[in-house]
């Protein structure tokens, strides 16, 4: 017991103490969290009327962000596959950090669902045993289960490995490997179930296309790893974490394939809709050309398409993806492209035109944007704090060994101990 308390304070100290850059970063996140959560209090008081959602478009920016983040969380698996199945060592070393990203992403997903609920006070109605979960009929019930399961799974792996390292113990692959292998189909399932959430609604022809789930996966495998490439580069700059170029290059290569597949599926869908030209074309027309004089999303969707195309070619070329500038450019383009396409470009056109043929142009209000920024900042803070403890453990600077905690003394698992501070 005493040990636990001691360890808690060691971890706390690790979080509280940091460089100036660290404090500035926390300050920025704190500002956006404050902004977001104070806006949310107003939303709680006045109701969702402070958003631009209405009966015609009853889901909007919150669900868009949710959808994008499920993709980010699922994409951690893309790194797990080469790491554990093909034993590609450079990635294996960093896969823990992408699993932590998955944890943070799932937390953000849950927060986005919470801020979207009309009655967050009643959320327990949705839980198994406490409430009356509509399982297996409702896909939302499935989503609650698989998302939370994925969260638990990732927390288990990360916590176990970190705990063992922190106590100078070898972690056993016999424990880790089955969990990690399980997390592969699980990651695919969280994204598939989220796709089915939209997919299973015959009332909305835009979502009711069987290509939806495959496209979801393909685009997630672009944006998630792209985000990780950027994060990894930042981490190795500001901490003593070593990440090999070959790992980053490998991930970039994988993105190229995923993007190629994504674009192919996109083309297949476009061909079917535009060539057959049935009434189901309307949402696509709204997205790419505008419908009955409404074209709020048109510039966004073209931006997304162009960004995705450019990024595809950049990732495809070995020279471009091995060059820091073009690589990062491609990553940013992919993230923005998929964020638009999978967020607003997916959720909103499901409602346009509405089931009674109405067109209501949706665009998020300030409140929605502030609250969403707050959620993102909260997630980023969570990830930062996780890394702040995990990186020194990983590099050997932080140990909780045998009651007597020592910092920077124990045998470092990964060689050199530097004085660099995160």
């Amino acid at each position: 017991m005493m040990d636990q308390i001691k360890h808690f304070f060691i971890a706390l100290k690790q979080i509280v103490k940091g460089s100036r850059g660290y404090y500035i970063w926390i300050g920025i996140l704190g500002f956006f969290m404050l902004l977001g959560w104070s806006t949310y209090v107003i939303q709680l008081k006045r109701g969702l009327i402070v958003t631009a959602m209405r009966d015609q478009v009853s889901w909007g920016f919150y669900l868009s962000n949710f959808t994008f983040l499920v993709g980010v969380a699922a994409a951690a698996v893309l790194l797990v596959i080469p790491a554990y199945i093909y034993n590609f060592k450079p990635i294996k070393e960093i896969v823990l950090f992408s699993e932590m990203l998955a944890i943070a992403a799932i937390f953000m997903c849950i927060m986005f669902i919470m801020v979207d609920l009309g009655r967050p006070d009643r959320v327990w109605h949705l839980f198994p045993f406490f409430g009356t979960m509509n399982f297996p009929s409702s896909l939302l019930a499935w989503d609650v289960l698989v998302l939370n399961g994925y969260l638990v799974l990732n927390i288990a792996v990360v916590f176990y490995v970190m705990y063992r390292i922190a106590h100078n113990m070898e972690y056993s692959m016999a424990v880790v490997k089955p969990l990690v292998i399980l997390s592969i189909p699980w990651a695919i399932s969280i994204h598939t179930v989220t796709a089915f959430l939209y997919n299973g609604l015959p009332a909305r022809s835009f979502w009711n296309a069987s290509i939806l789930a495959p496209r979801f996966l393909a685009s997630a495998f672009c944006s998630g790893p792209a985000l990780m490439i950027i994060i990894f580069q930042v981490l190795r700059k500001i901490s003593d974490l070593e990440i090999e170029d070959s790992a980053i290059s490998k991930i970039a290569e994988l993105i190229a394939y995923a993007m190629g597949f994504n674009l192919f599926l996109f083309g297949a869908e476009m061909f079917k809709e535009f060539y057959s030209g049935t009434a189901q074309l309307a949402p696509f027309q709204y997205l790419y050309f505008g419908l009955h004089g409404y074209h709020g999303l048109v510039p966004w969707l073209w931006t997304a398409l162009i960004f995705n195309l450019i990024a595809f070619f950049l990732f495809l070329s070995p020279r471009a993806r091995n060059n820091v500038v073009t690589l990062n450019m491609a990553c940013v383009l992919v993230i923005i492209g998929v964020y638009i396409e999978k967020g607003m470009g997916l959720v909103v056109p499901g409602f346009i035109p509405g089931t009674l043929g109405e067109i209501y142009e949706y665009f998020p209000t300030h409140s929605e944007i502030f609250v969403s920024l707050g959620v993102w900042a909260t997630g980023a803070l969570l990830y930062t704090l996780m890394l702040k403890v995990a990186i020194p453990i990983y590099t050997g600077r932080l140990r909780f060994a045998r009651g007597a905690a020592t910092v920077g003394e124990s045998a470092a698992i990964r060689g050199s101990v530097t004085s660099a501070e995160l």
């Binding site: 009643r122 045993f129 009674l356």
Partner: protein, 310 residues
């Protein structure tokens, strides 16, 4: 085409769960500070799902709700919770050749069912189409905001829509909390105290029939209809979904009574009755008119039948 099948009442697999929940919630309740907390707040928070309450619990809840409404609106509201009558399956008919698009039904419904006036919520939507335009499966040319001096207008026709009380309701299978369900007399209802406001049912409904309380409803005190049903027209809360219930407070509490929209229609375009009664008007219409239902390709089997009398 298959006939709409009348599904057996959903079984309530709740005994075990109720127990677990009771135990769990009980321990939570014990852990919470209760000294100065208003007991009714906790009662409201832990209120059970409508279908999981026994008669005694239901009575207690109704009393508390009546009190809450009295405090909030300053009028005495009477909440009934009558169960479906056996041998009843409600059906609705709409004679498109008669409808003149006057929207009297819309406003009668608003008044009867305590819909919010500000912001406006209306359960009935009357769509206007230009003669010759697409209208059966593709509603893109529908106009719901038409506003002429006089109806009917030359060159146009009208199609009112509202909840179609689907026999196979996509809204019900979508709801993650079972806050909305089909009653044995065929009416799809919402427990306004159980709905979490996720709006998944709104995405699932093919008929734009569900409406959300984006903020607290605004109803002038003297316009409140005080004769209400728990599953029907009692005032709603912010953050939850509502919809047409075939005026459950009328049609269930006083068998044989019409919904408000049927009563008000000046041209008699609206028909209503028990489909299981071979002598009912709605049965006559179904058997003798050329009926169709909206978006039949979705297999929702609405109990809302459109037809042309002439």
């Amino acid at each position: 085409m298959k006939e709409p099948k009348i599904s057996p009442p959903r079984e309530h697999k709740v005994a075990r769960r109720s127990f677990l929940k009771g135990a769990a919630l009980g321990s939570v309740a014990l852990a919470l500070p209760s000294r100065d907390a208003d007991a009714s707040i906790w009662d409201a928070f832990f209120q059970k799902h409508f279908r999981e309450m026994n008669d005694k619990e239901l009575k207690k809840v109704l009393k508390r709700l009546e009190q809450e409404y009295a405090e909030k609106y300053g009028v005495d509201i009477d909440i009934s919770a009558n169960k479906p009558l056996s041998g009843v399956l409600f059906g609705y008919g709409l004679d498109l050749s008669r409808c003149i698009g006057c929207r009297r039904c819309v406003y009668a419904c608003v008044g009867e069912n305590n819909q919010s006036r500000d912001p406006q919520i209306q359960w009935i939507t009357v769509l206007r189409f230009k003669k010759g335009d697409k209208w059966v499966n593709d509603l893109e040319n529908a106009d719901k905001y038409y506003n002429p001096d006089k109806v009917p207008e030359e060159g146009y026709f009208y199609m009112p829509t509202q909840c179609q009380q689907c026999e196979n309701p996509p809204c019900v299978s979508a709801c993650p909390t079972q806050a909305t369900w089909k009653e044995d007399d065929g009416i799809i209802v919402v427990d306004y105290n159980w709905c979490i406001g996720c709006r998944y049912c709104m995405a699932a409904c093919p008929y734009g029939a569900r409406h959300f309380n984006w903020t607290g409803p605004g109803i002038p005190k003297d316009e409140i209809n005080t004769k209400t049903h728990y599953l029907g027209n009692r005032p709603r809360y912010h953050g939850i979904v509502e919809k047409c219930t075939f005026c459950i407070q009328r049609t269930r509490n006083t068998p044989g009574r019409y919904p408000a929209c049927v009563e008000i229609c000046p041209v008699g375009a609206r028909k209503f009755g028990n489909m299981l009664d071979p002598k009912s008007e709605i049965r006559y219409c179904i058997e003798n008119k050329r009926i169709f239902r909206l978006k039949e390709d979705l297999n929702t089997y609405p109990k809302f039948f459109y037809f042309f009398a002439t």
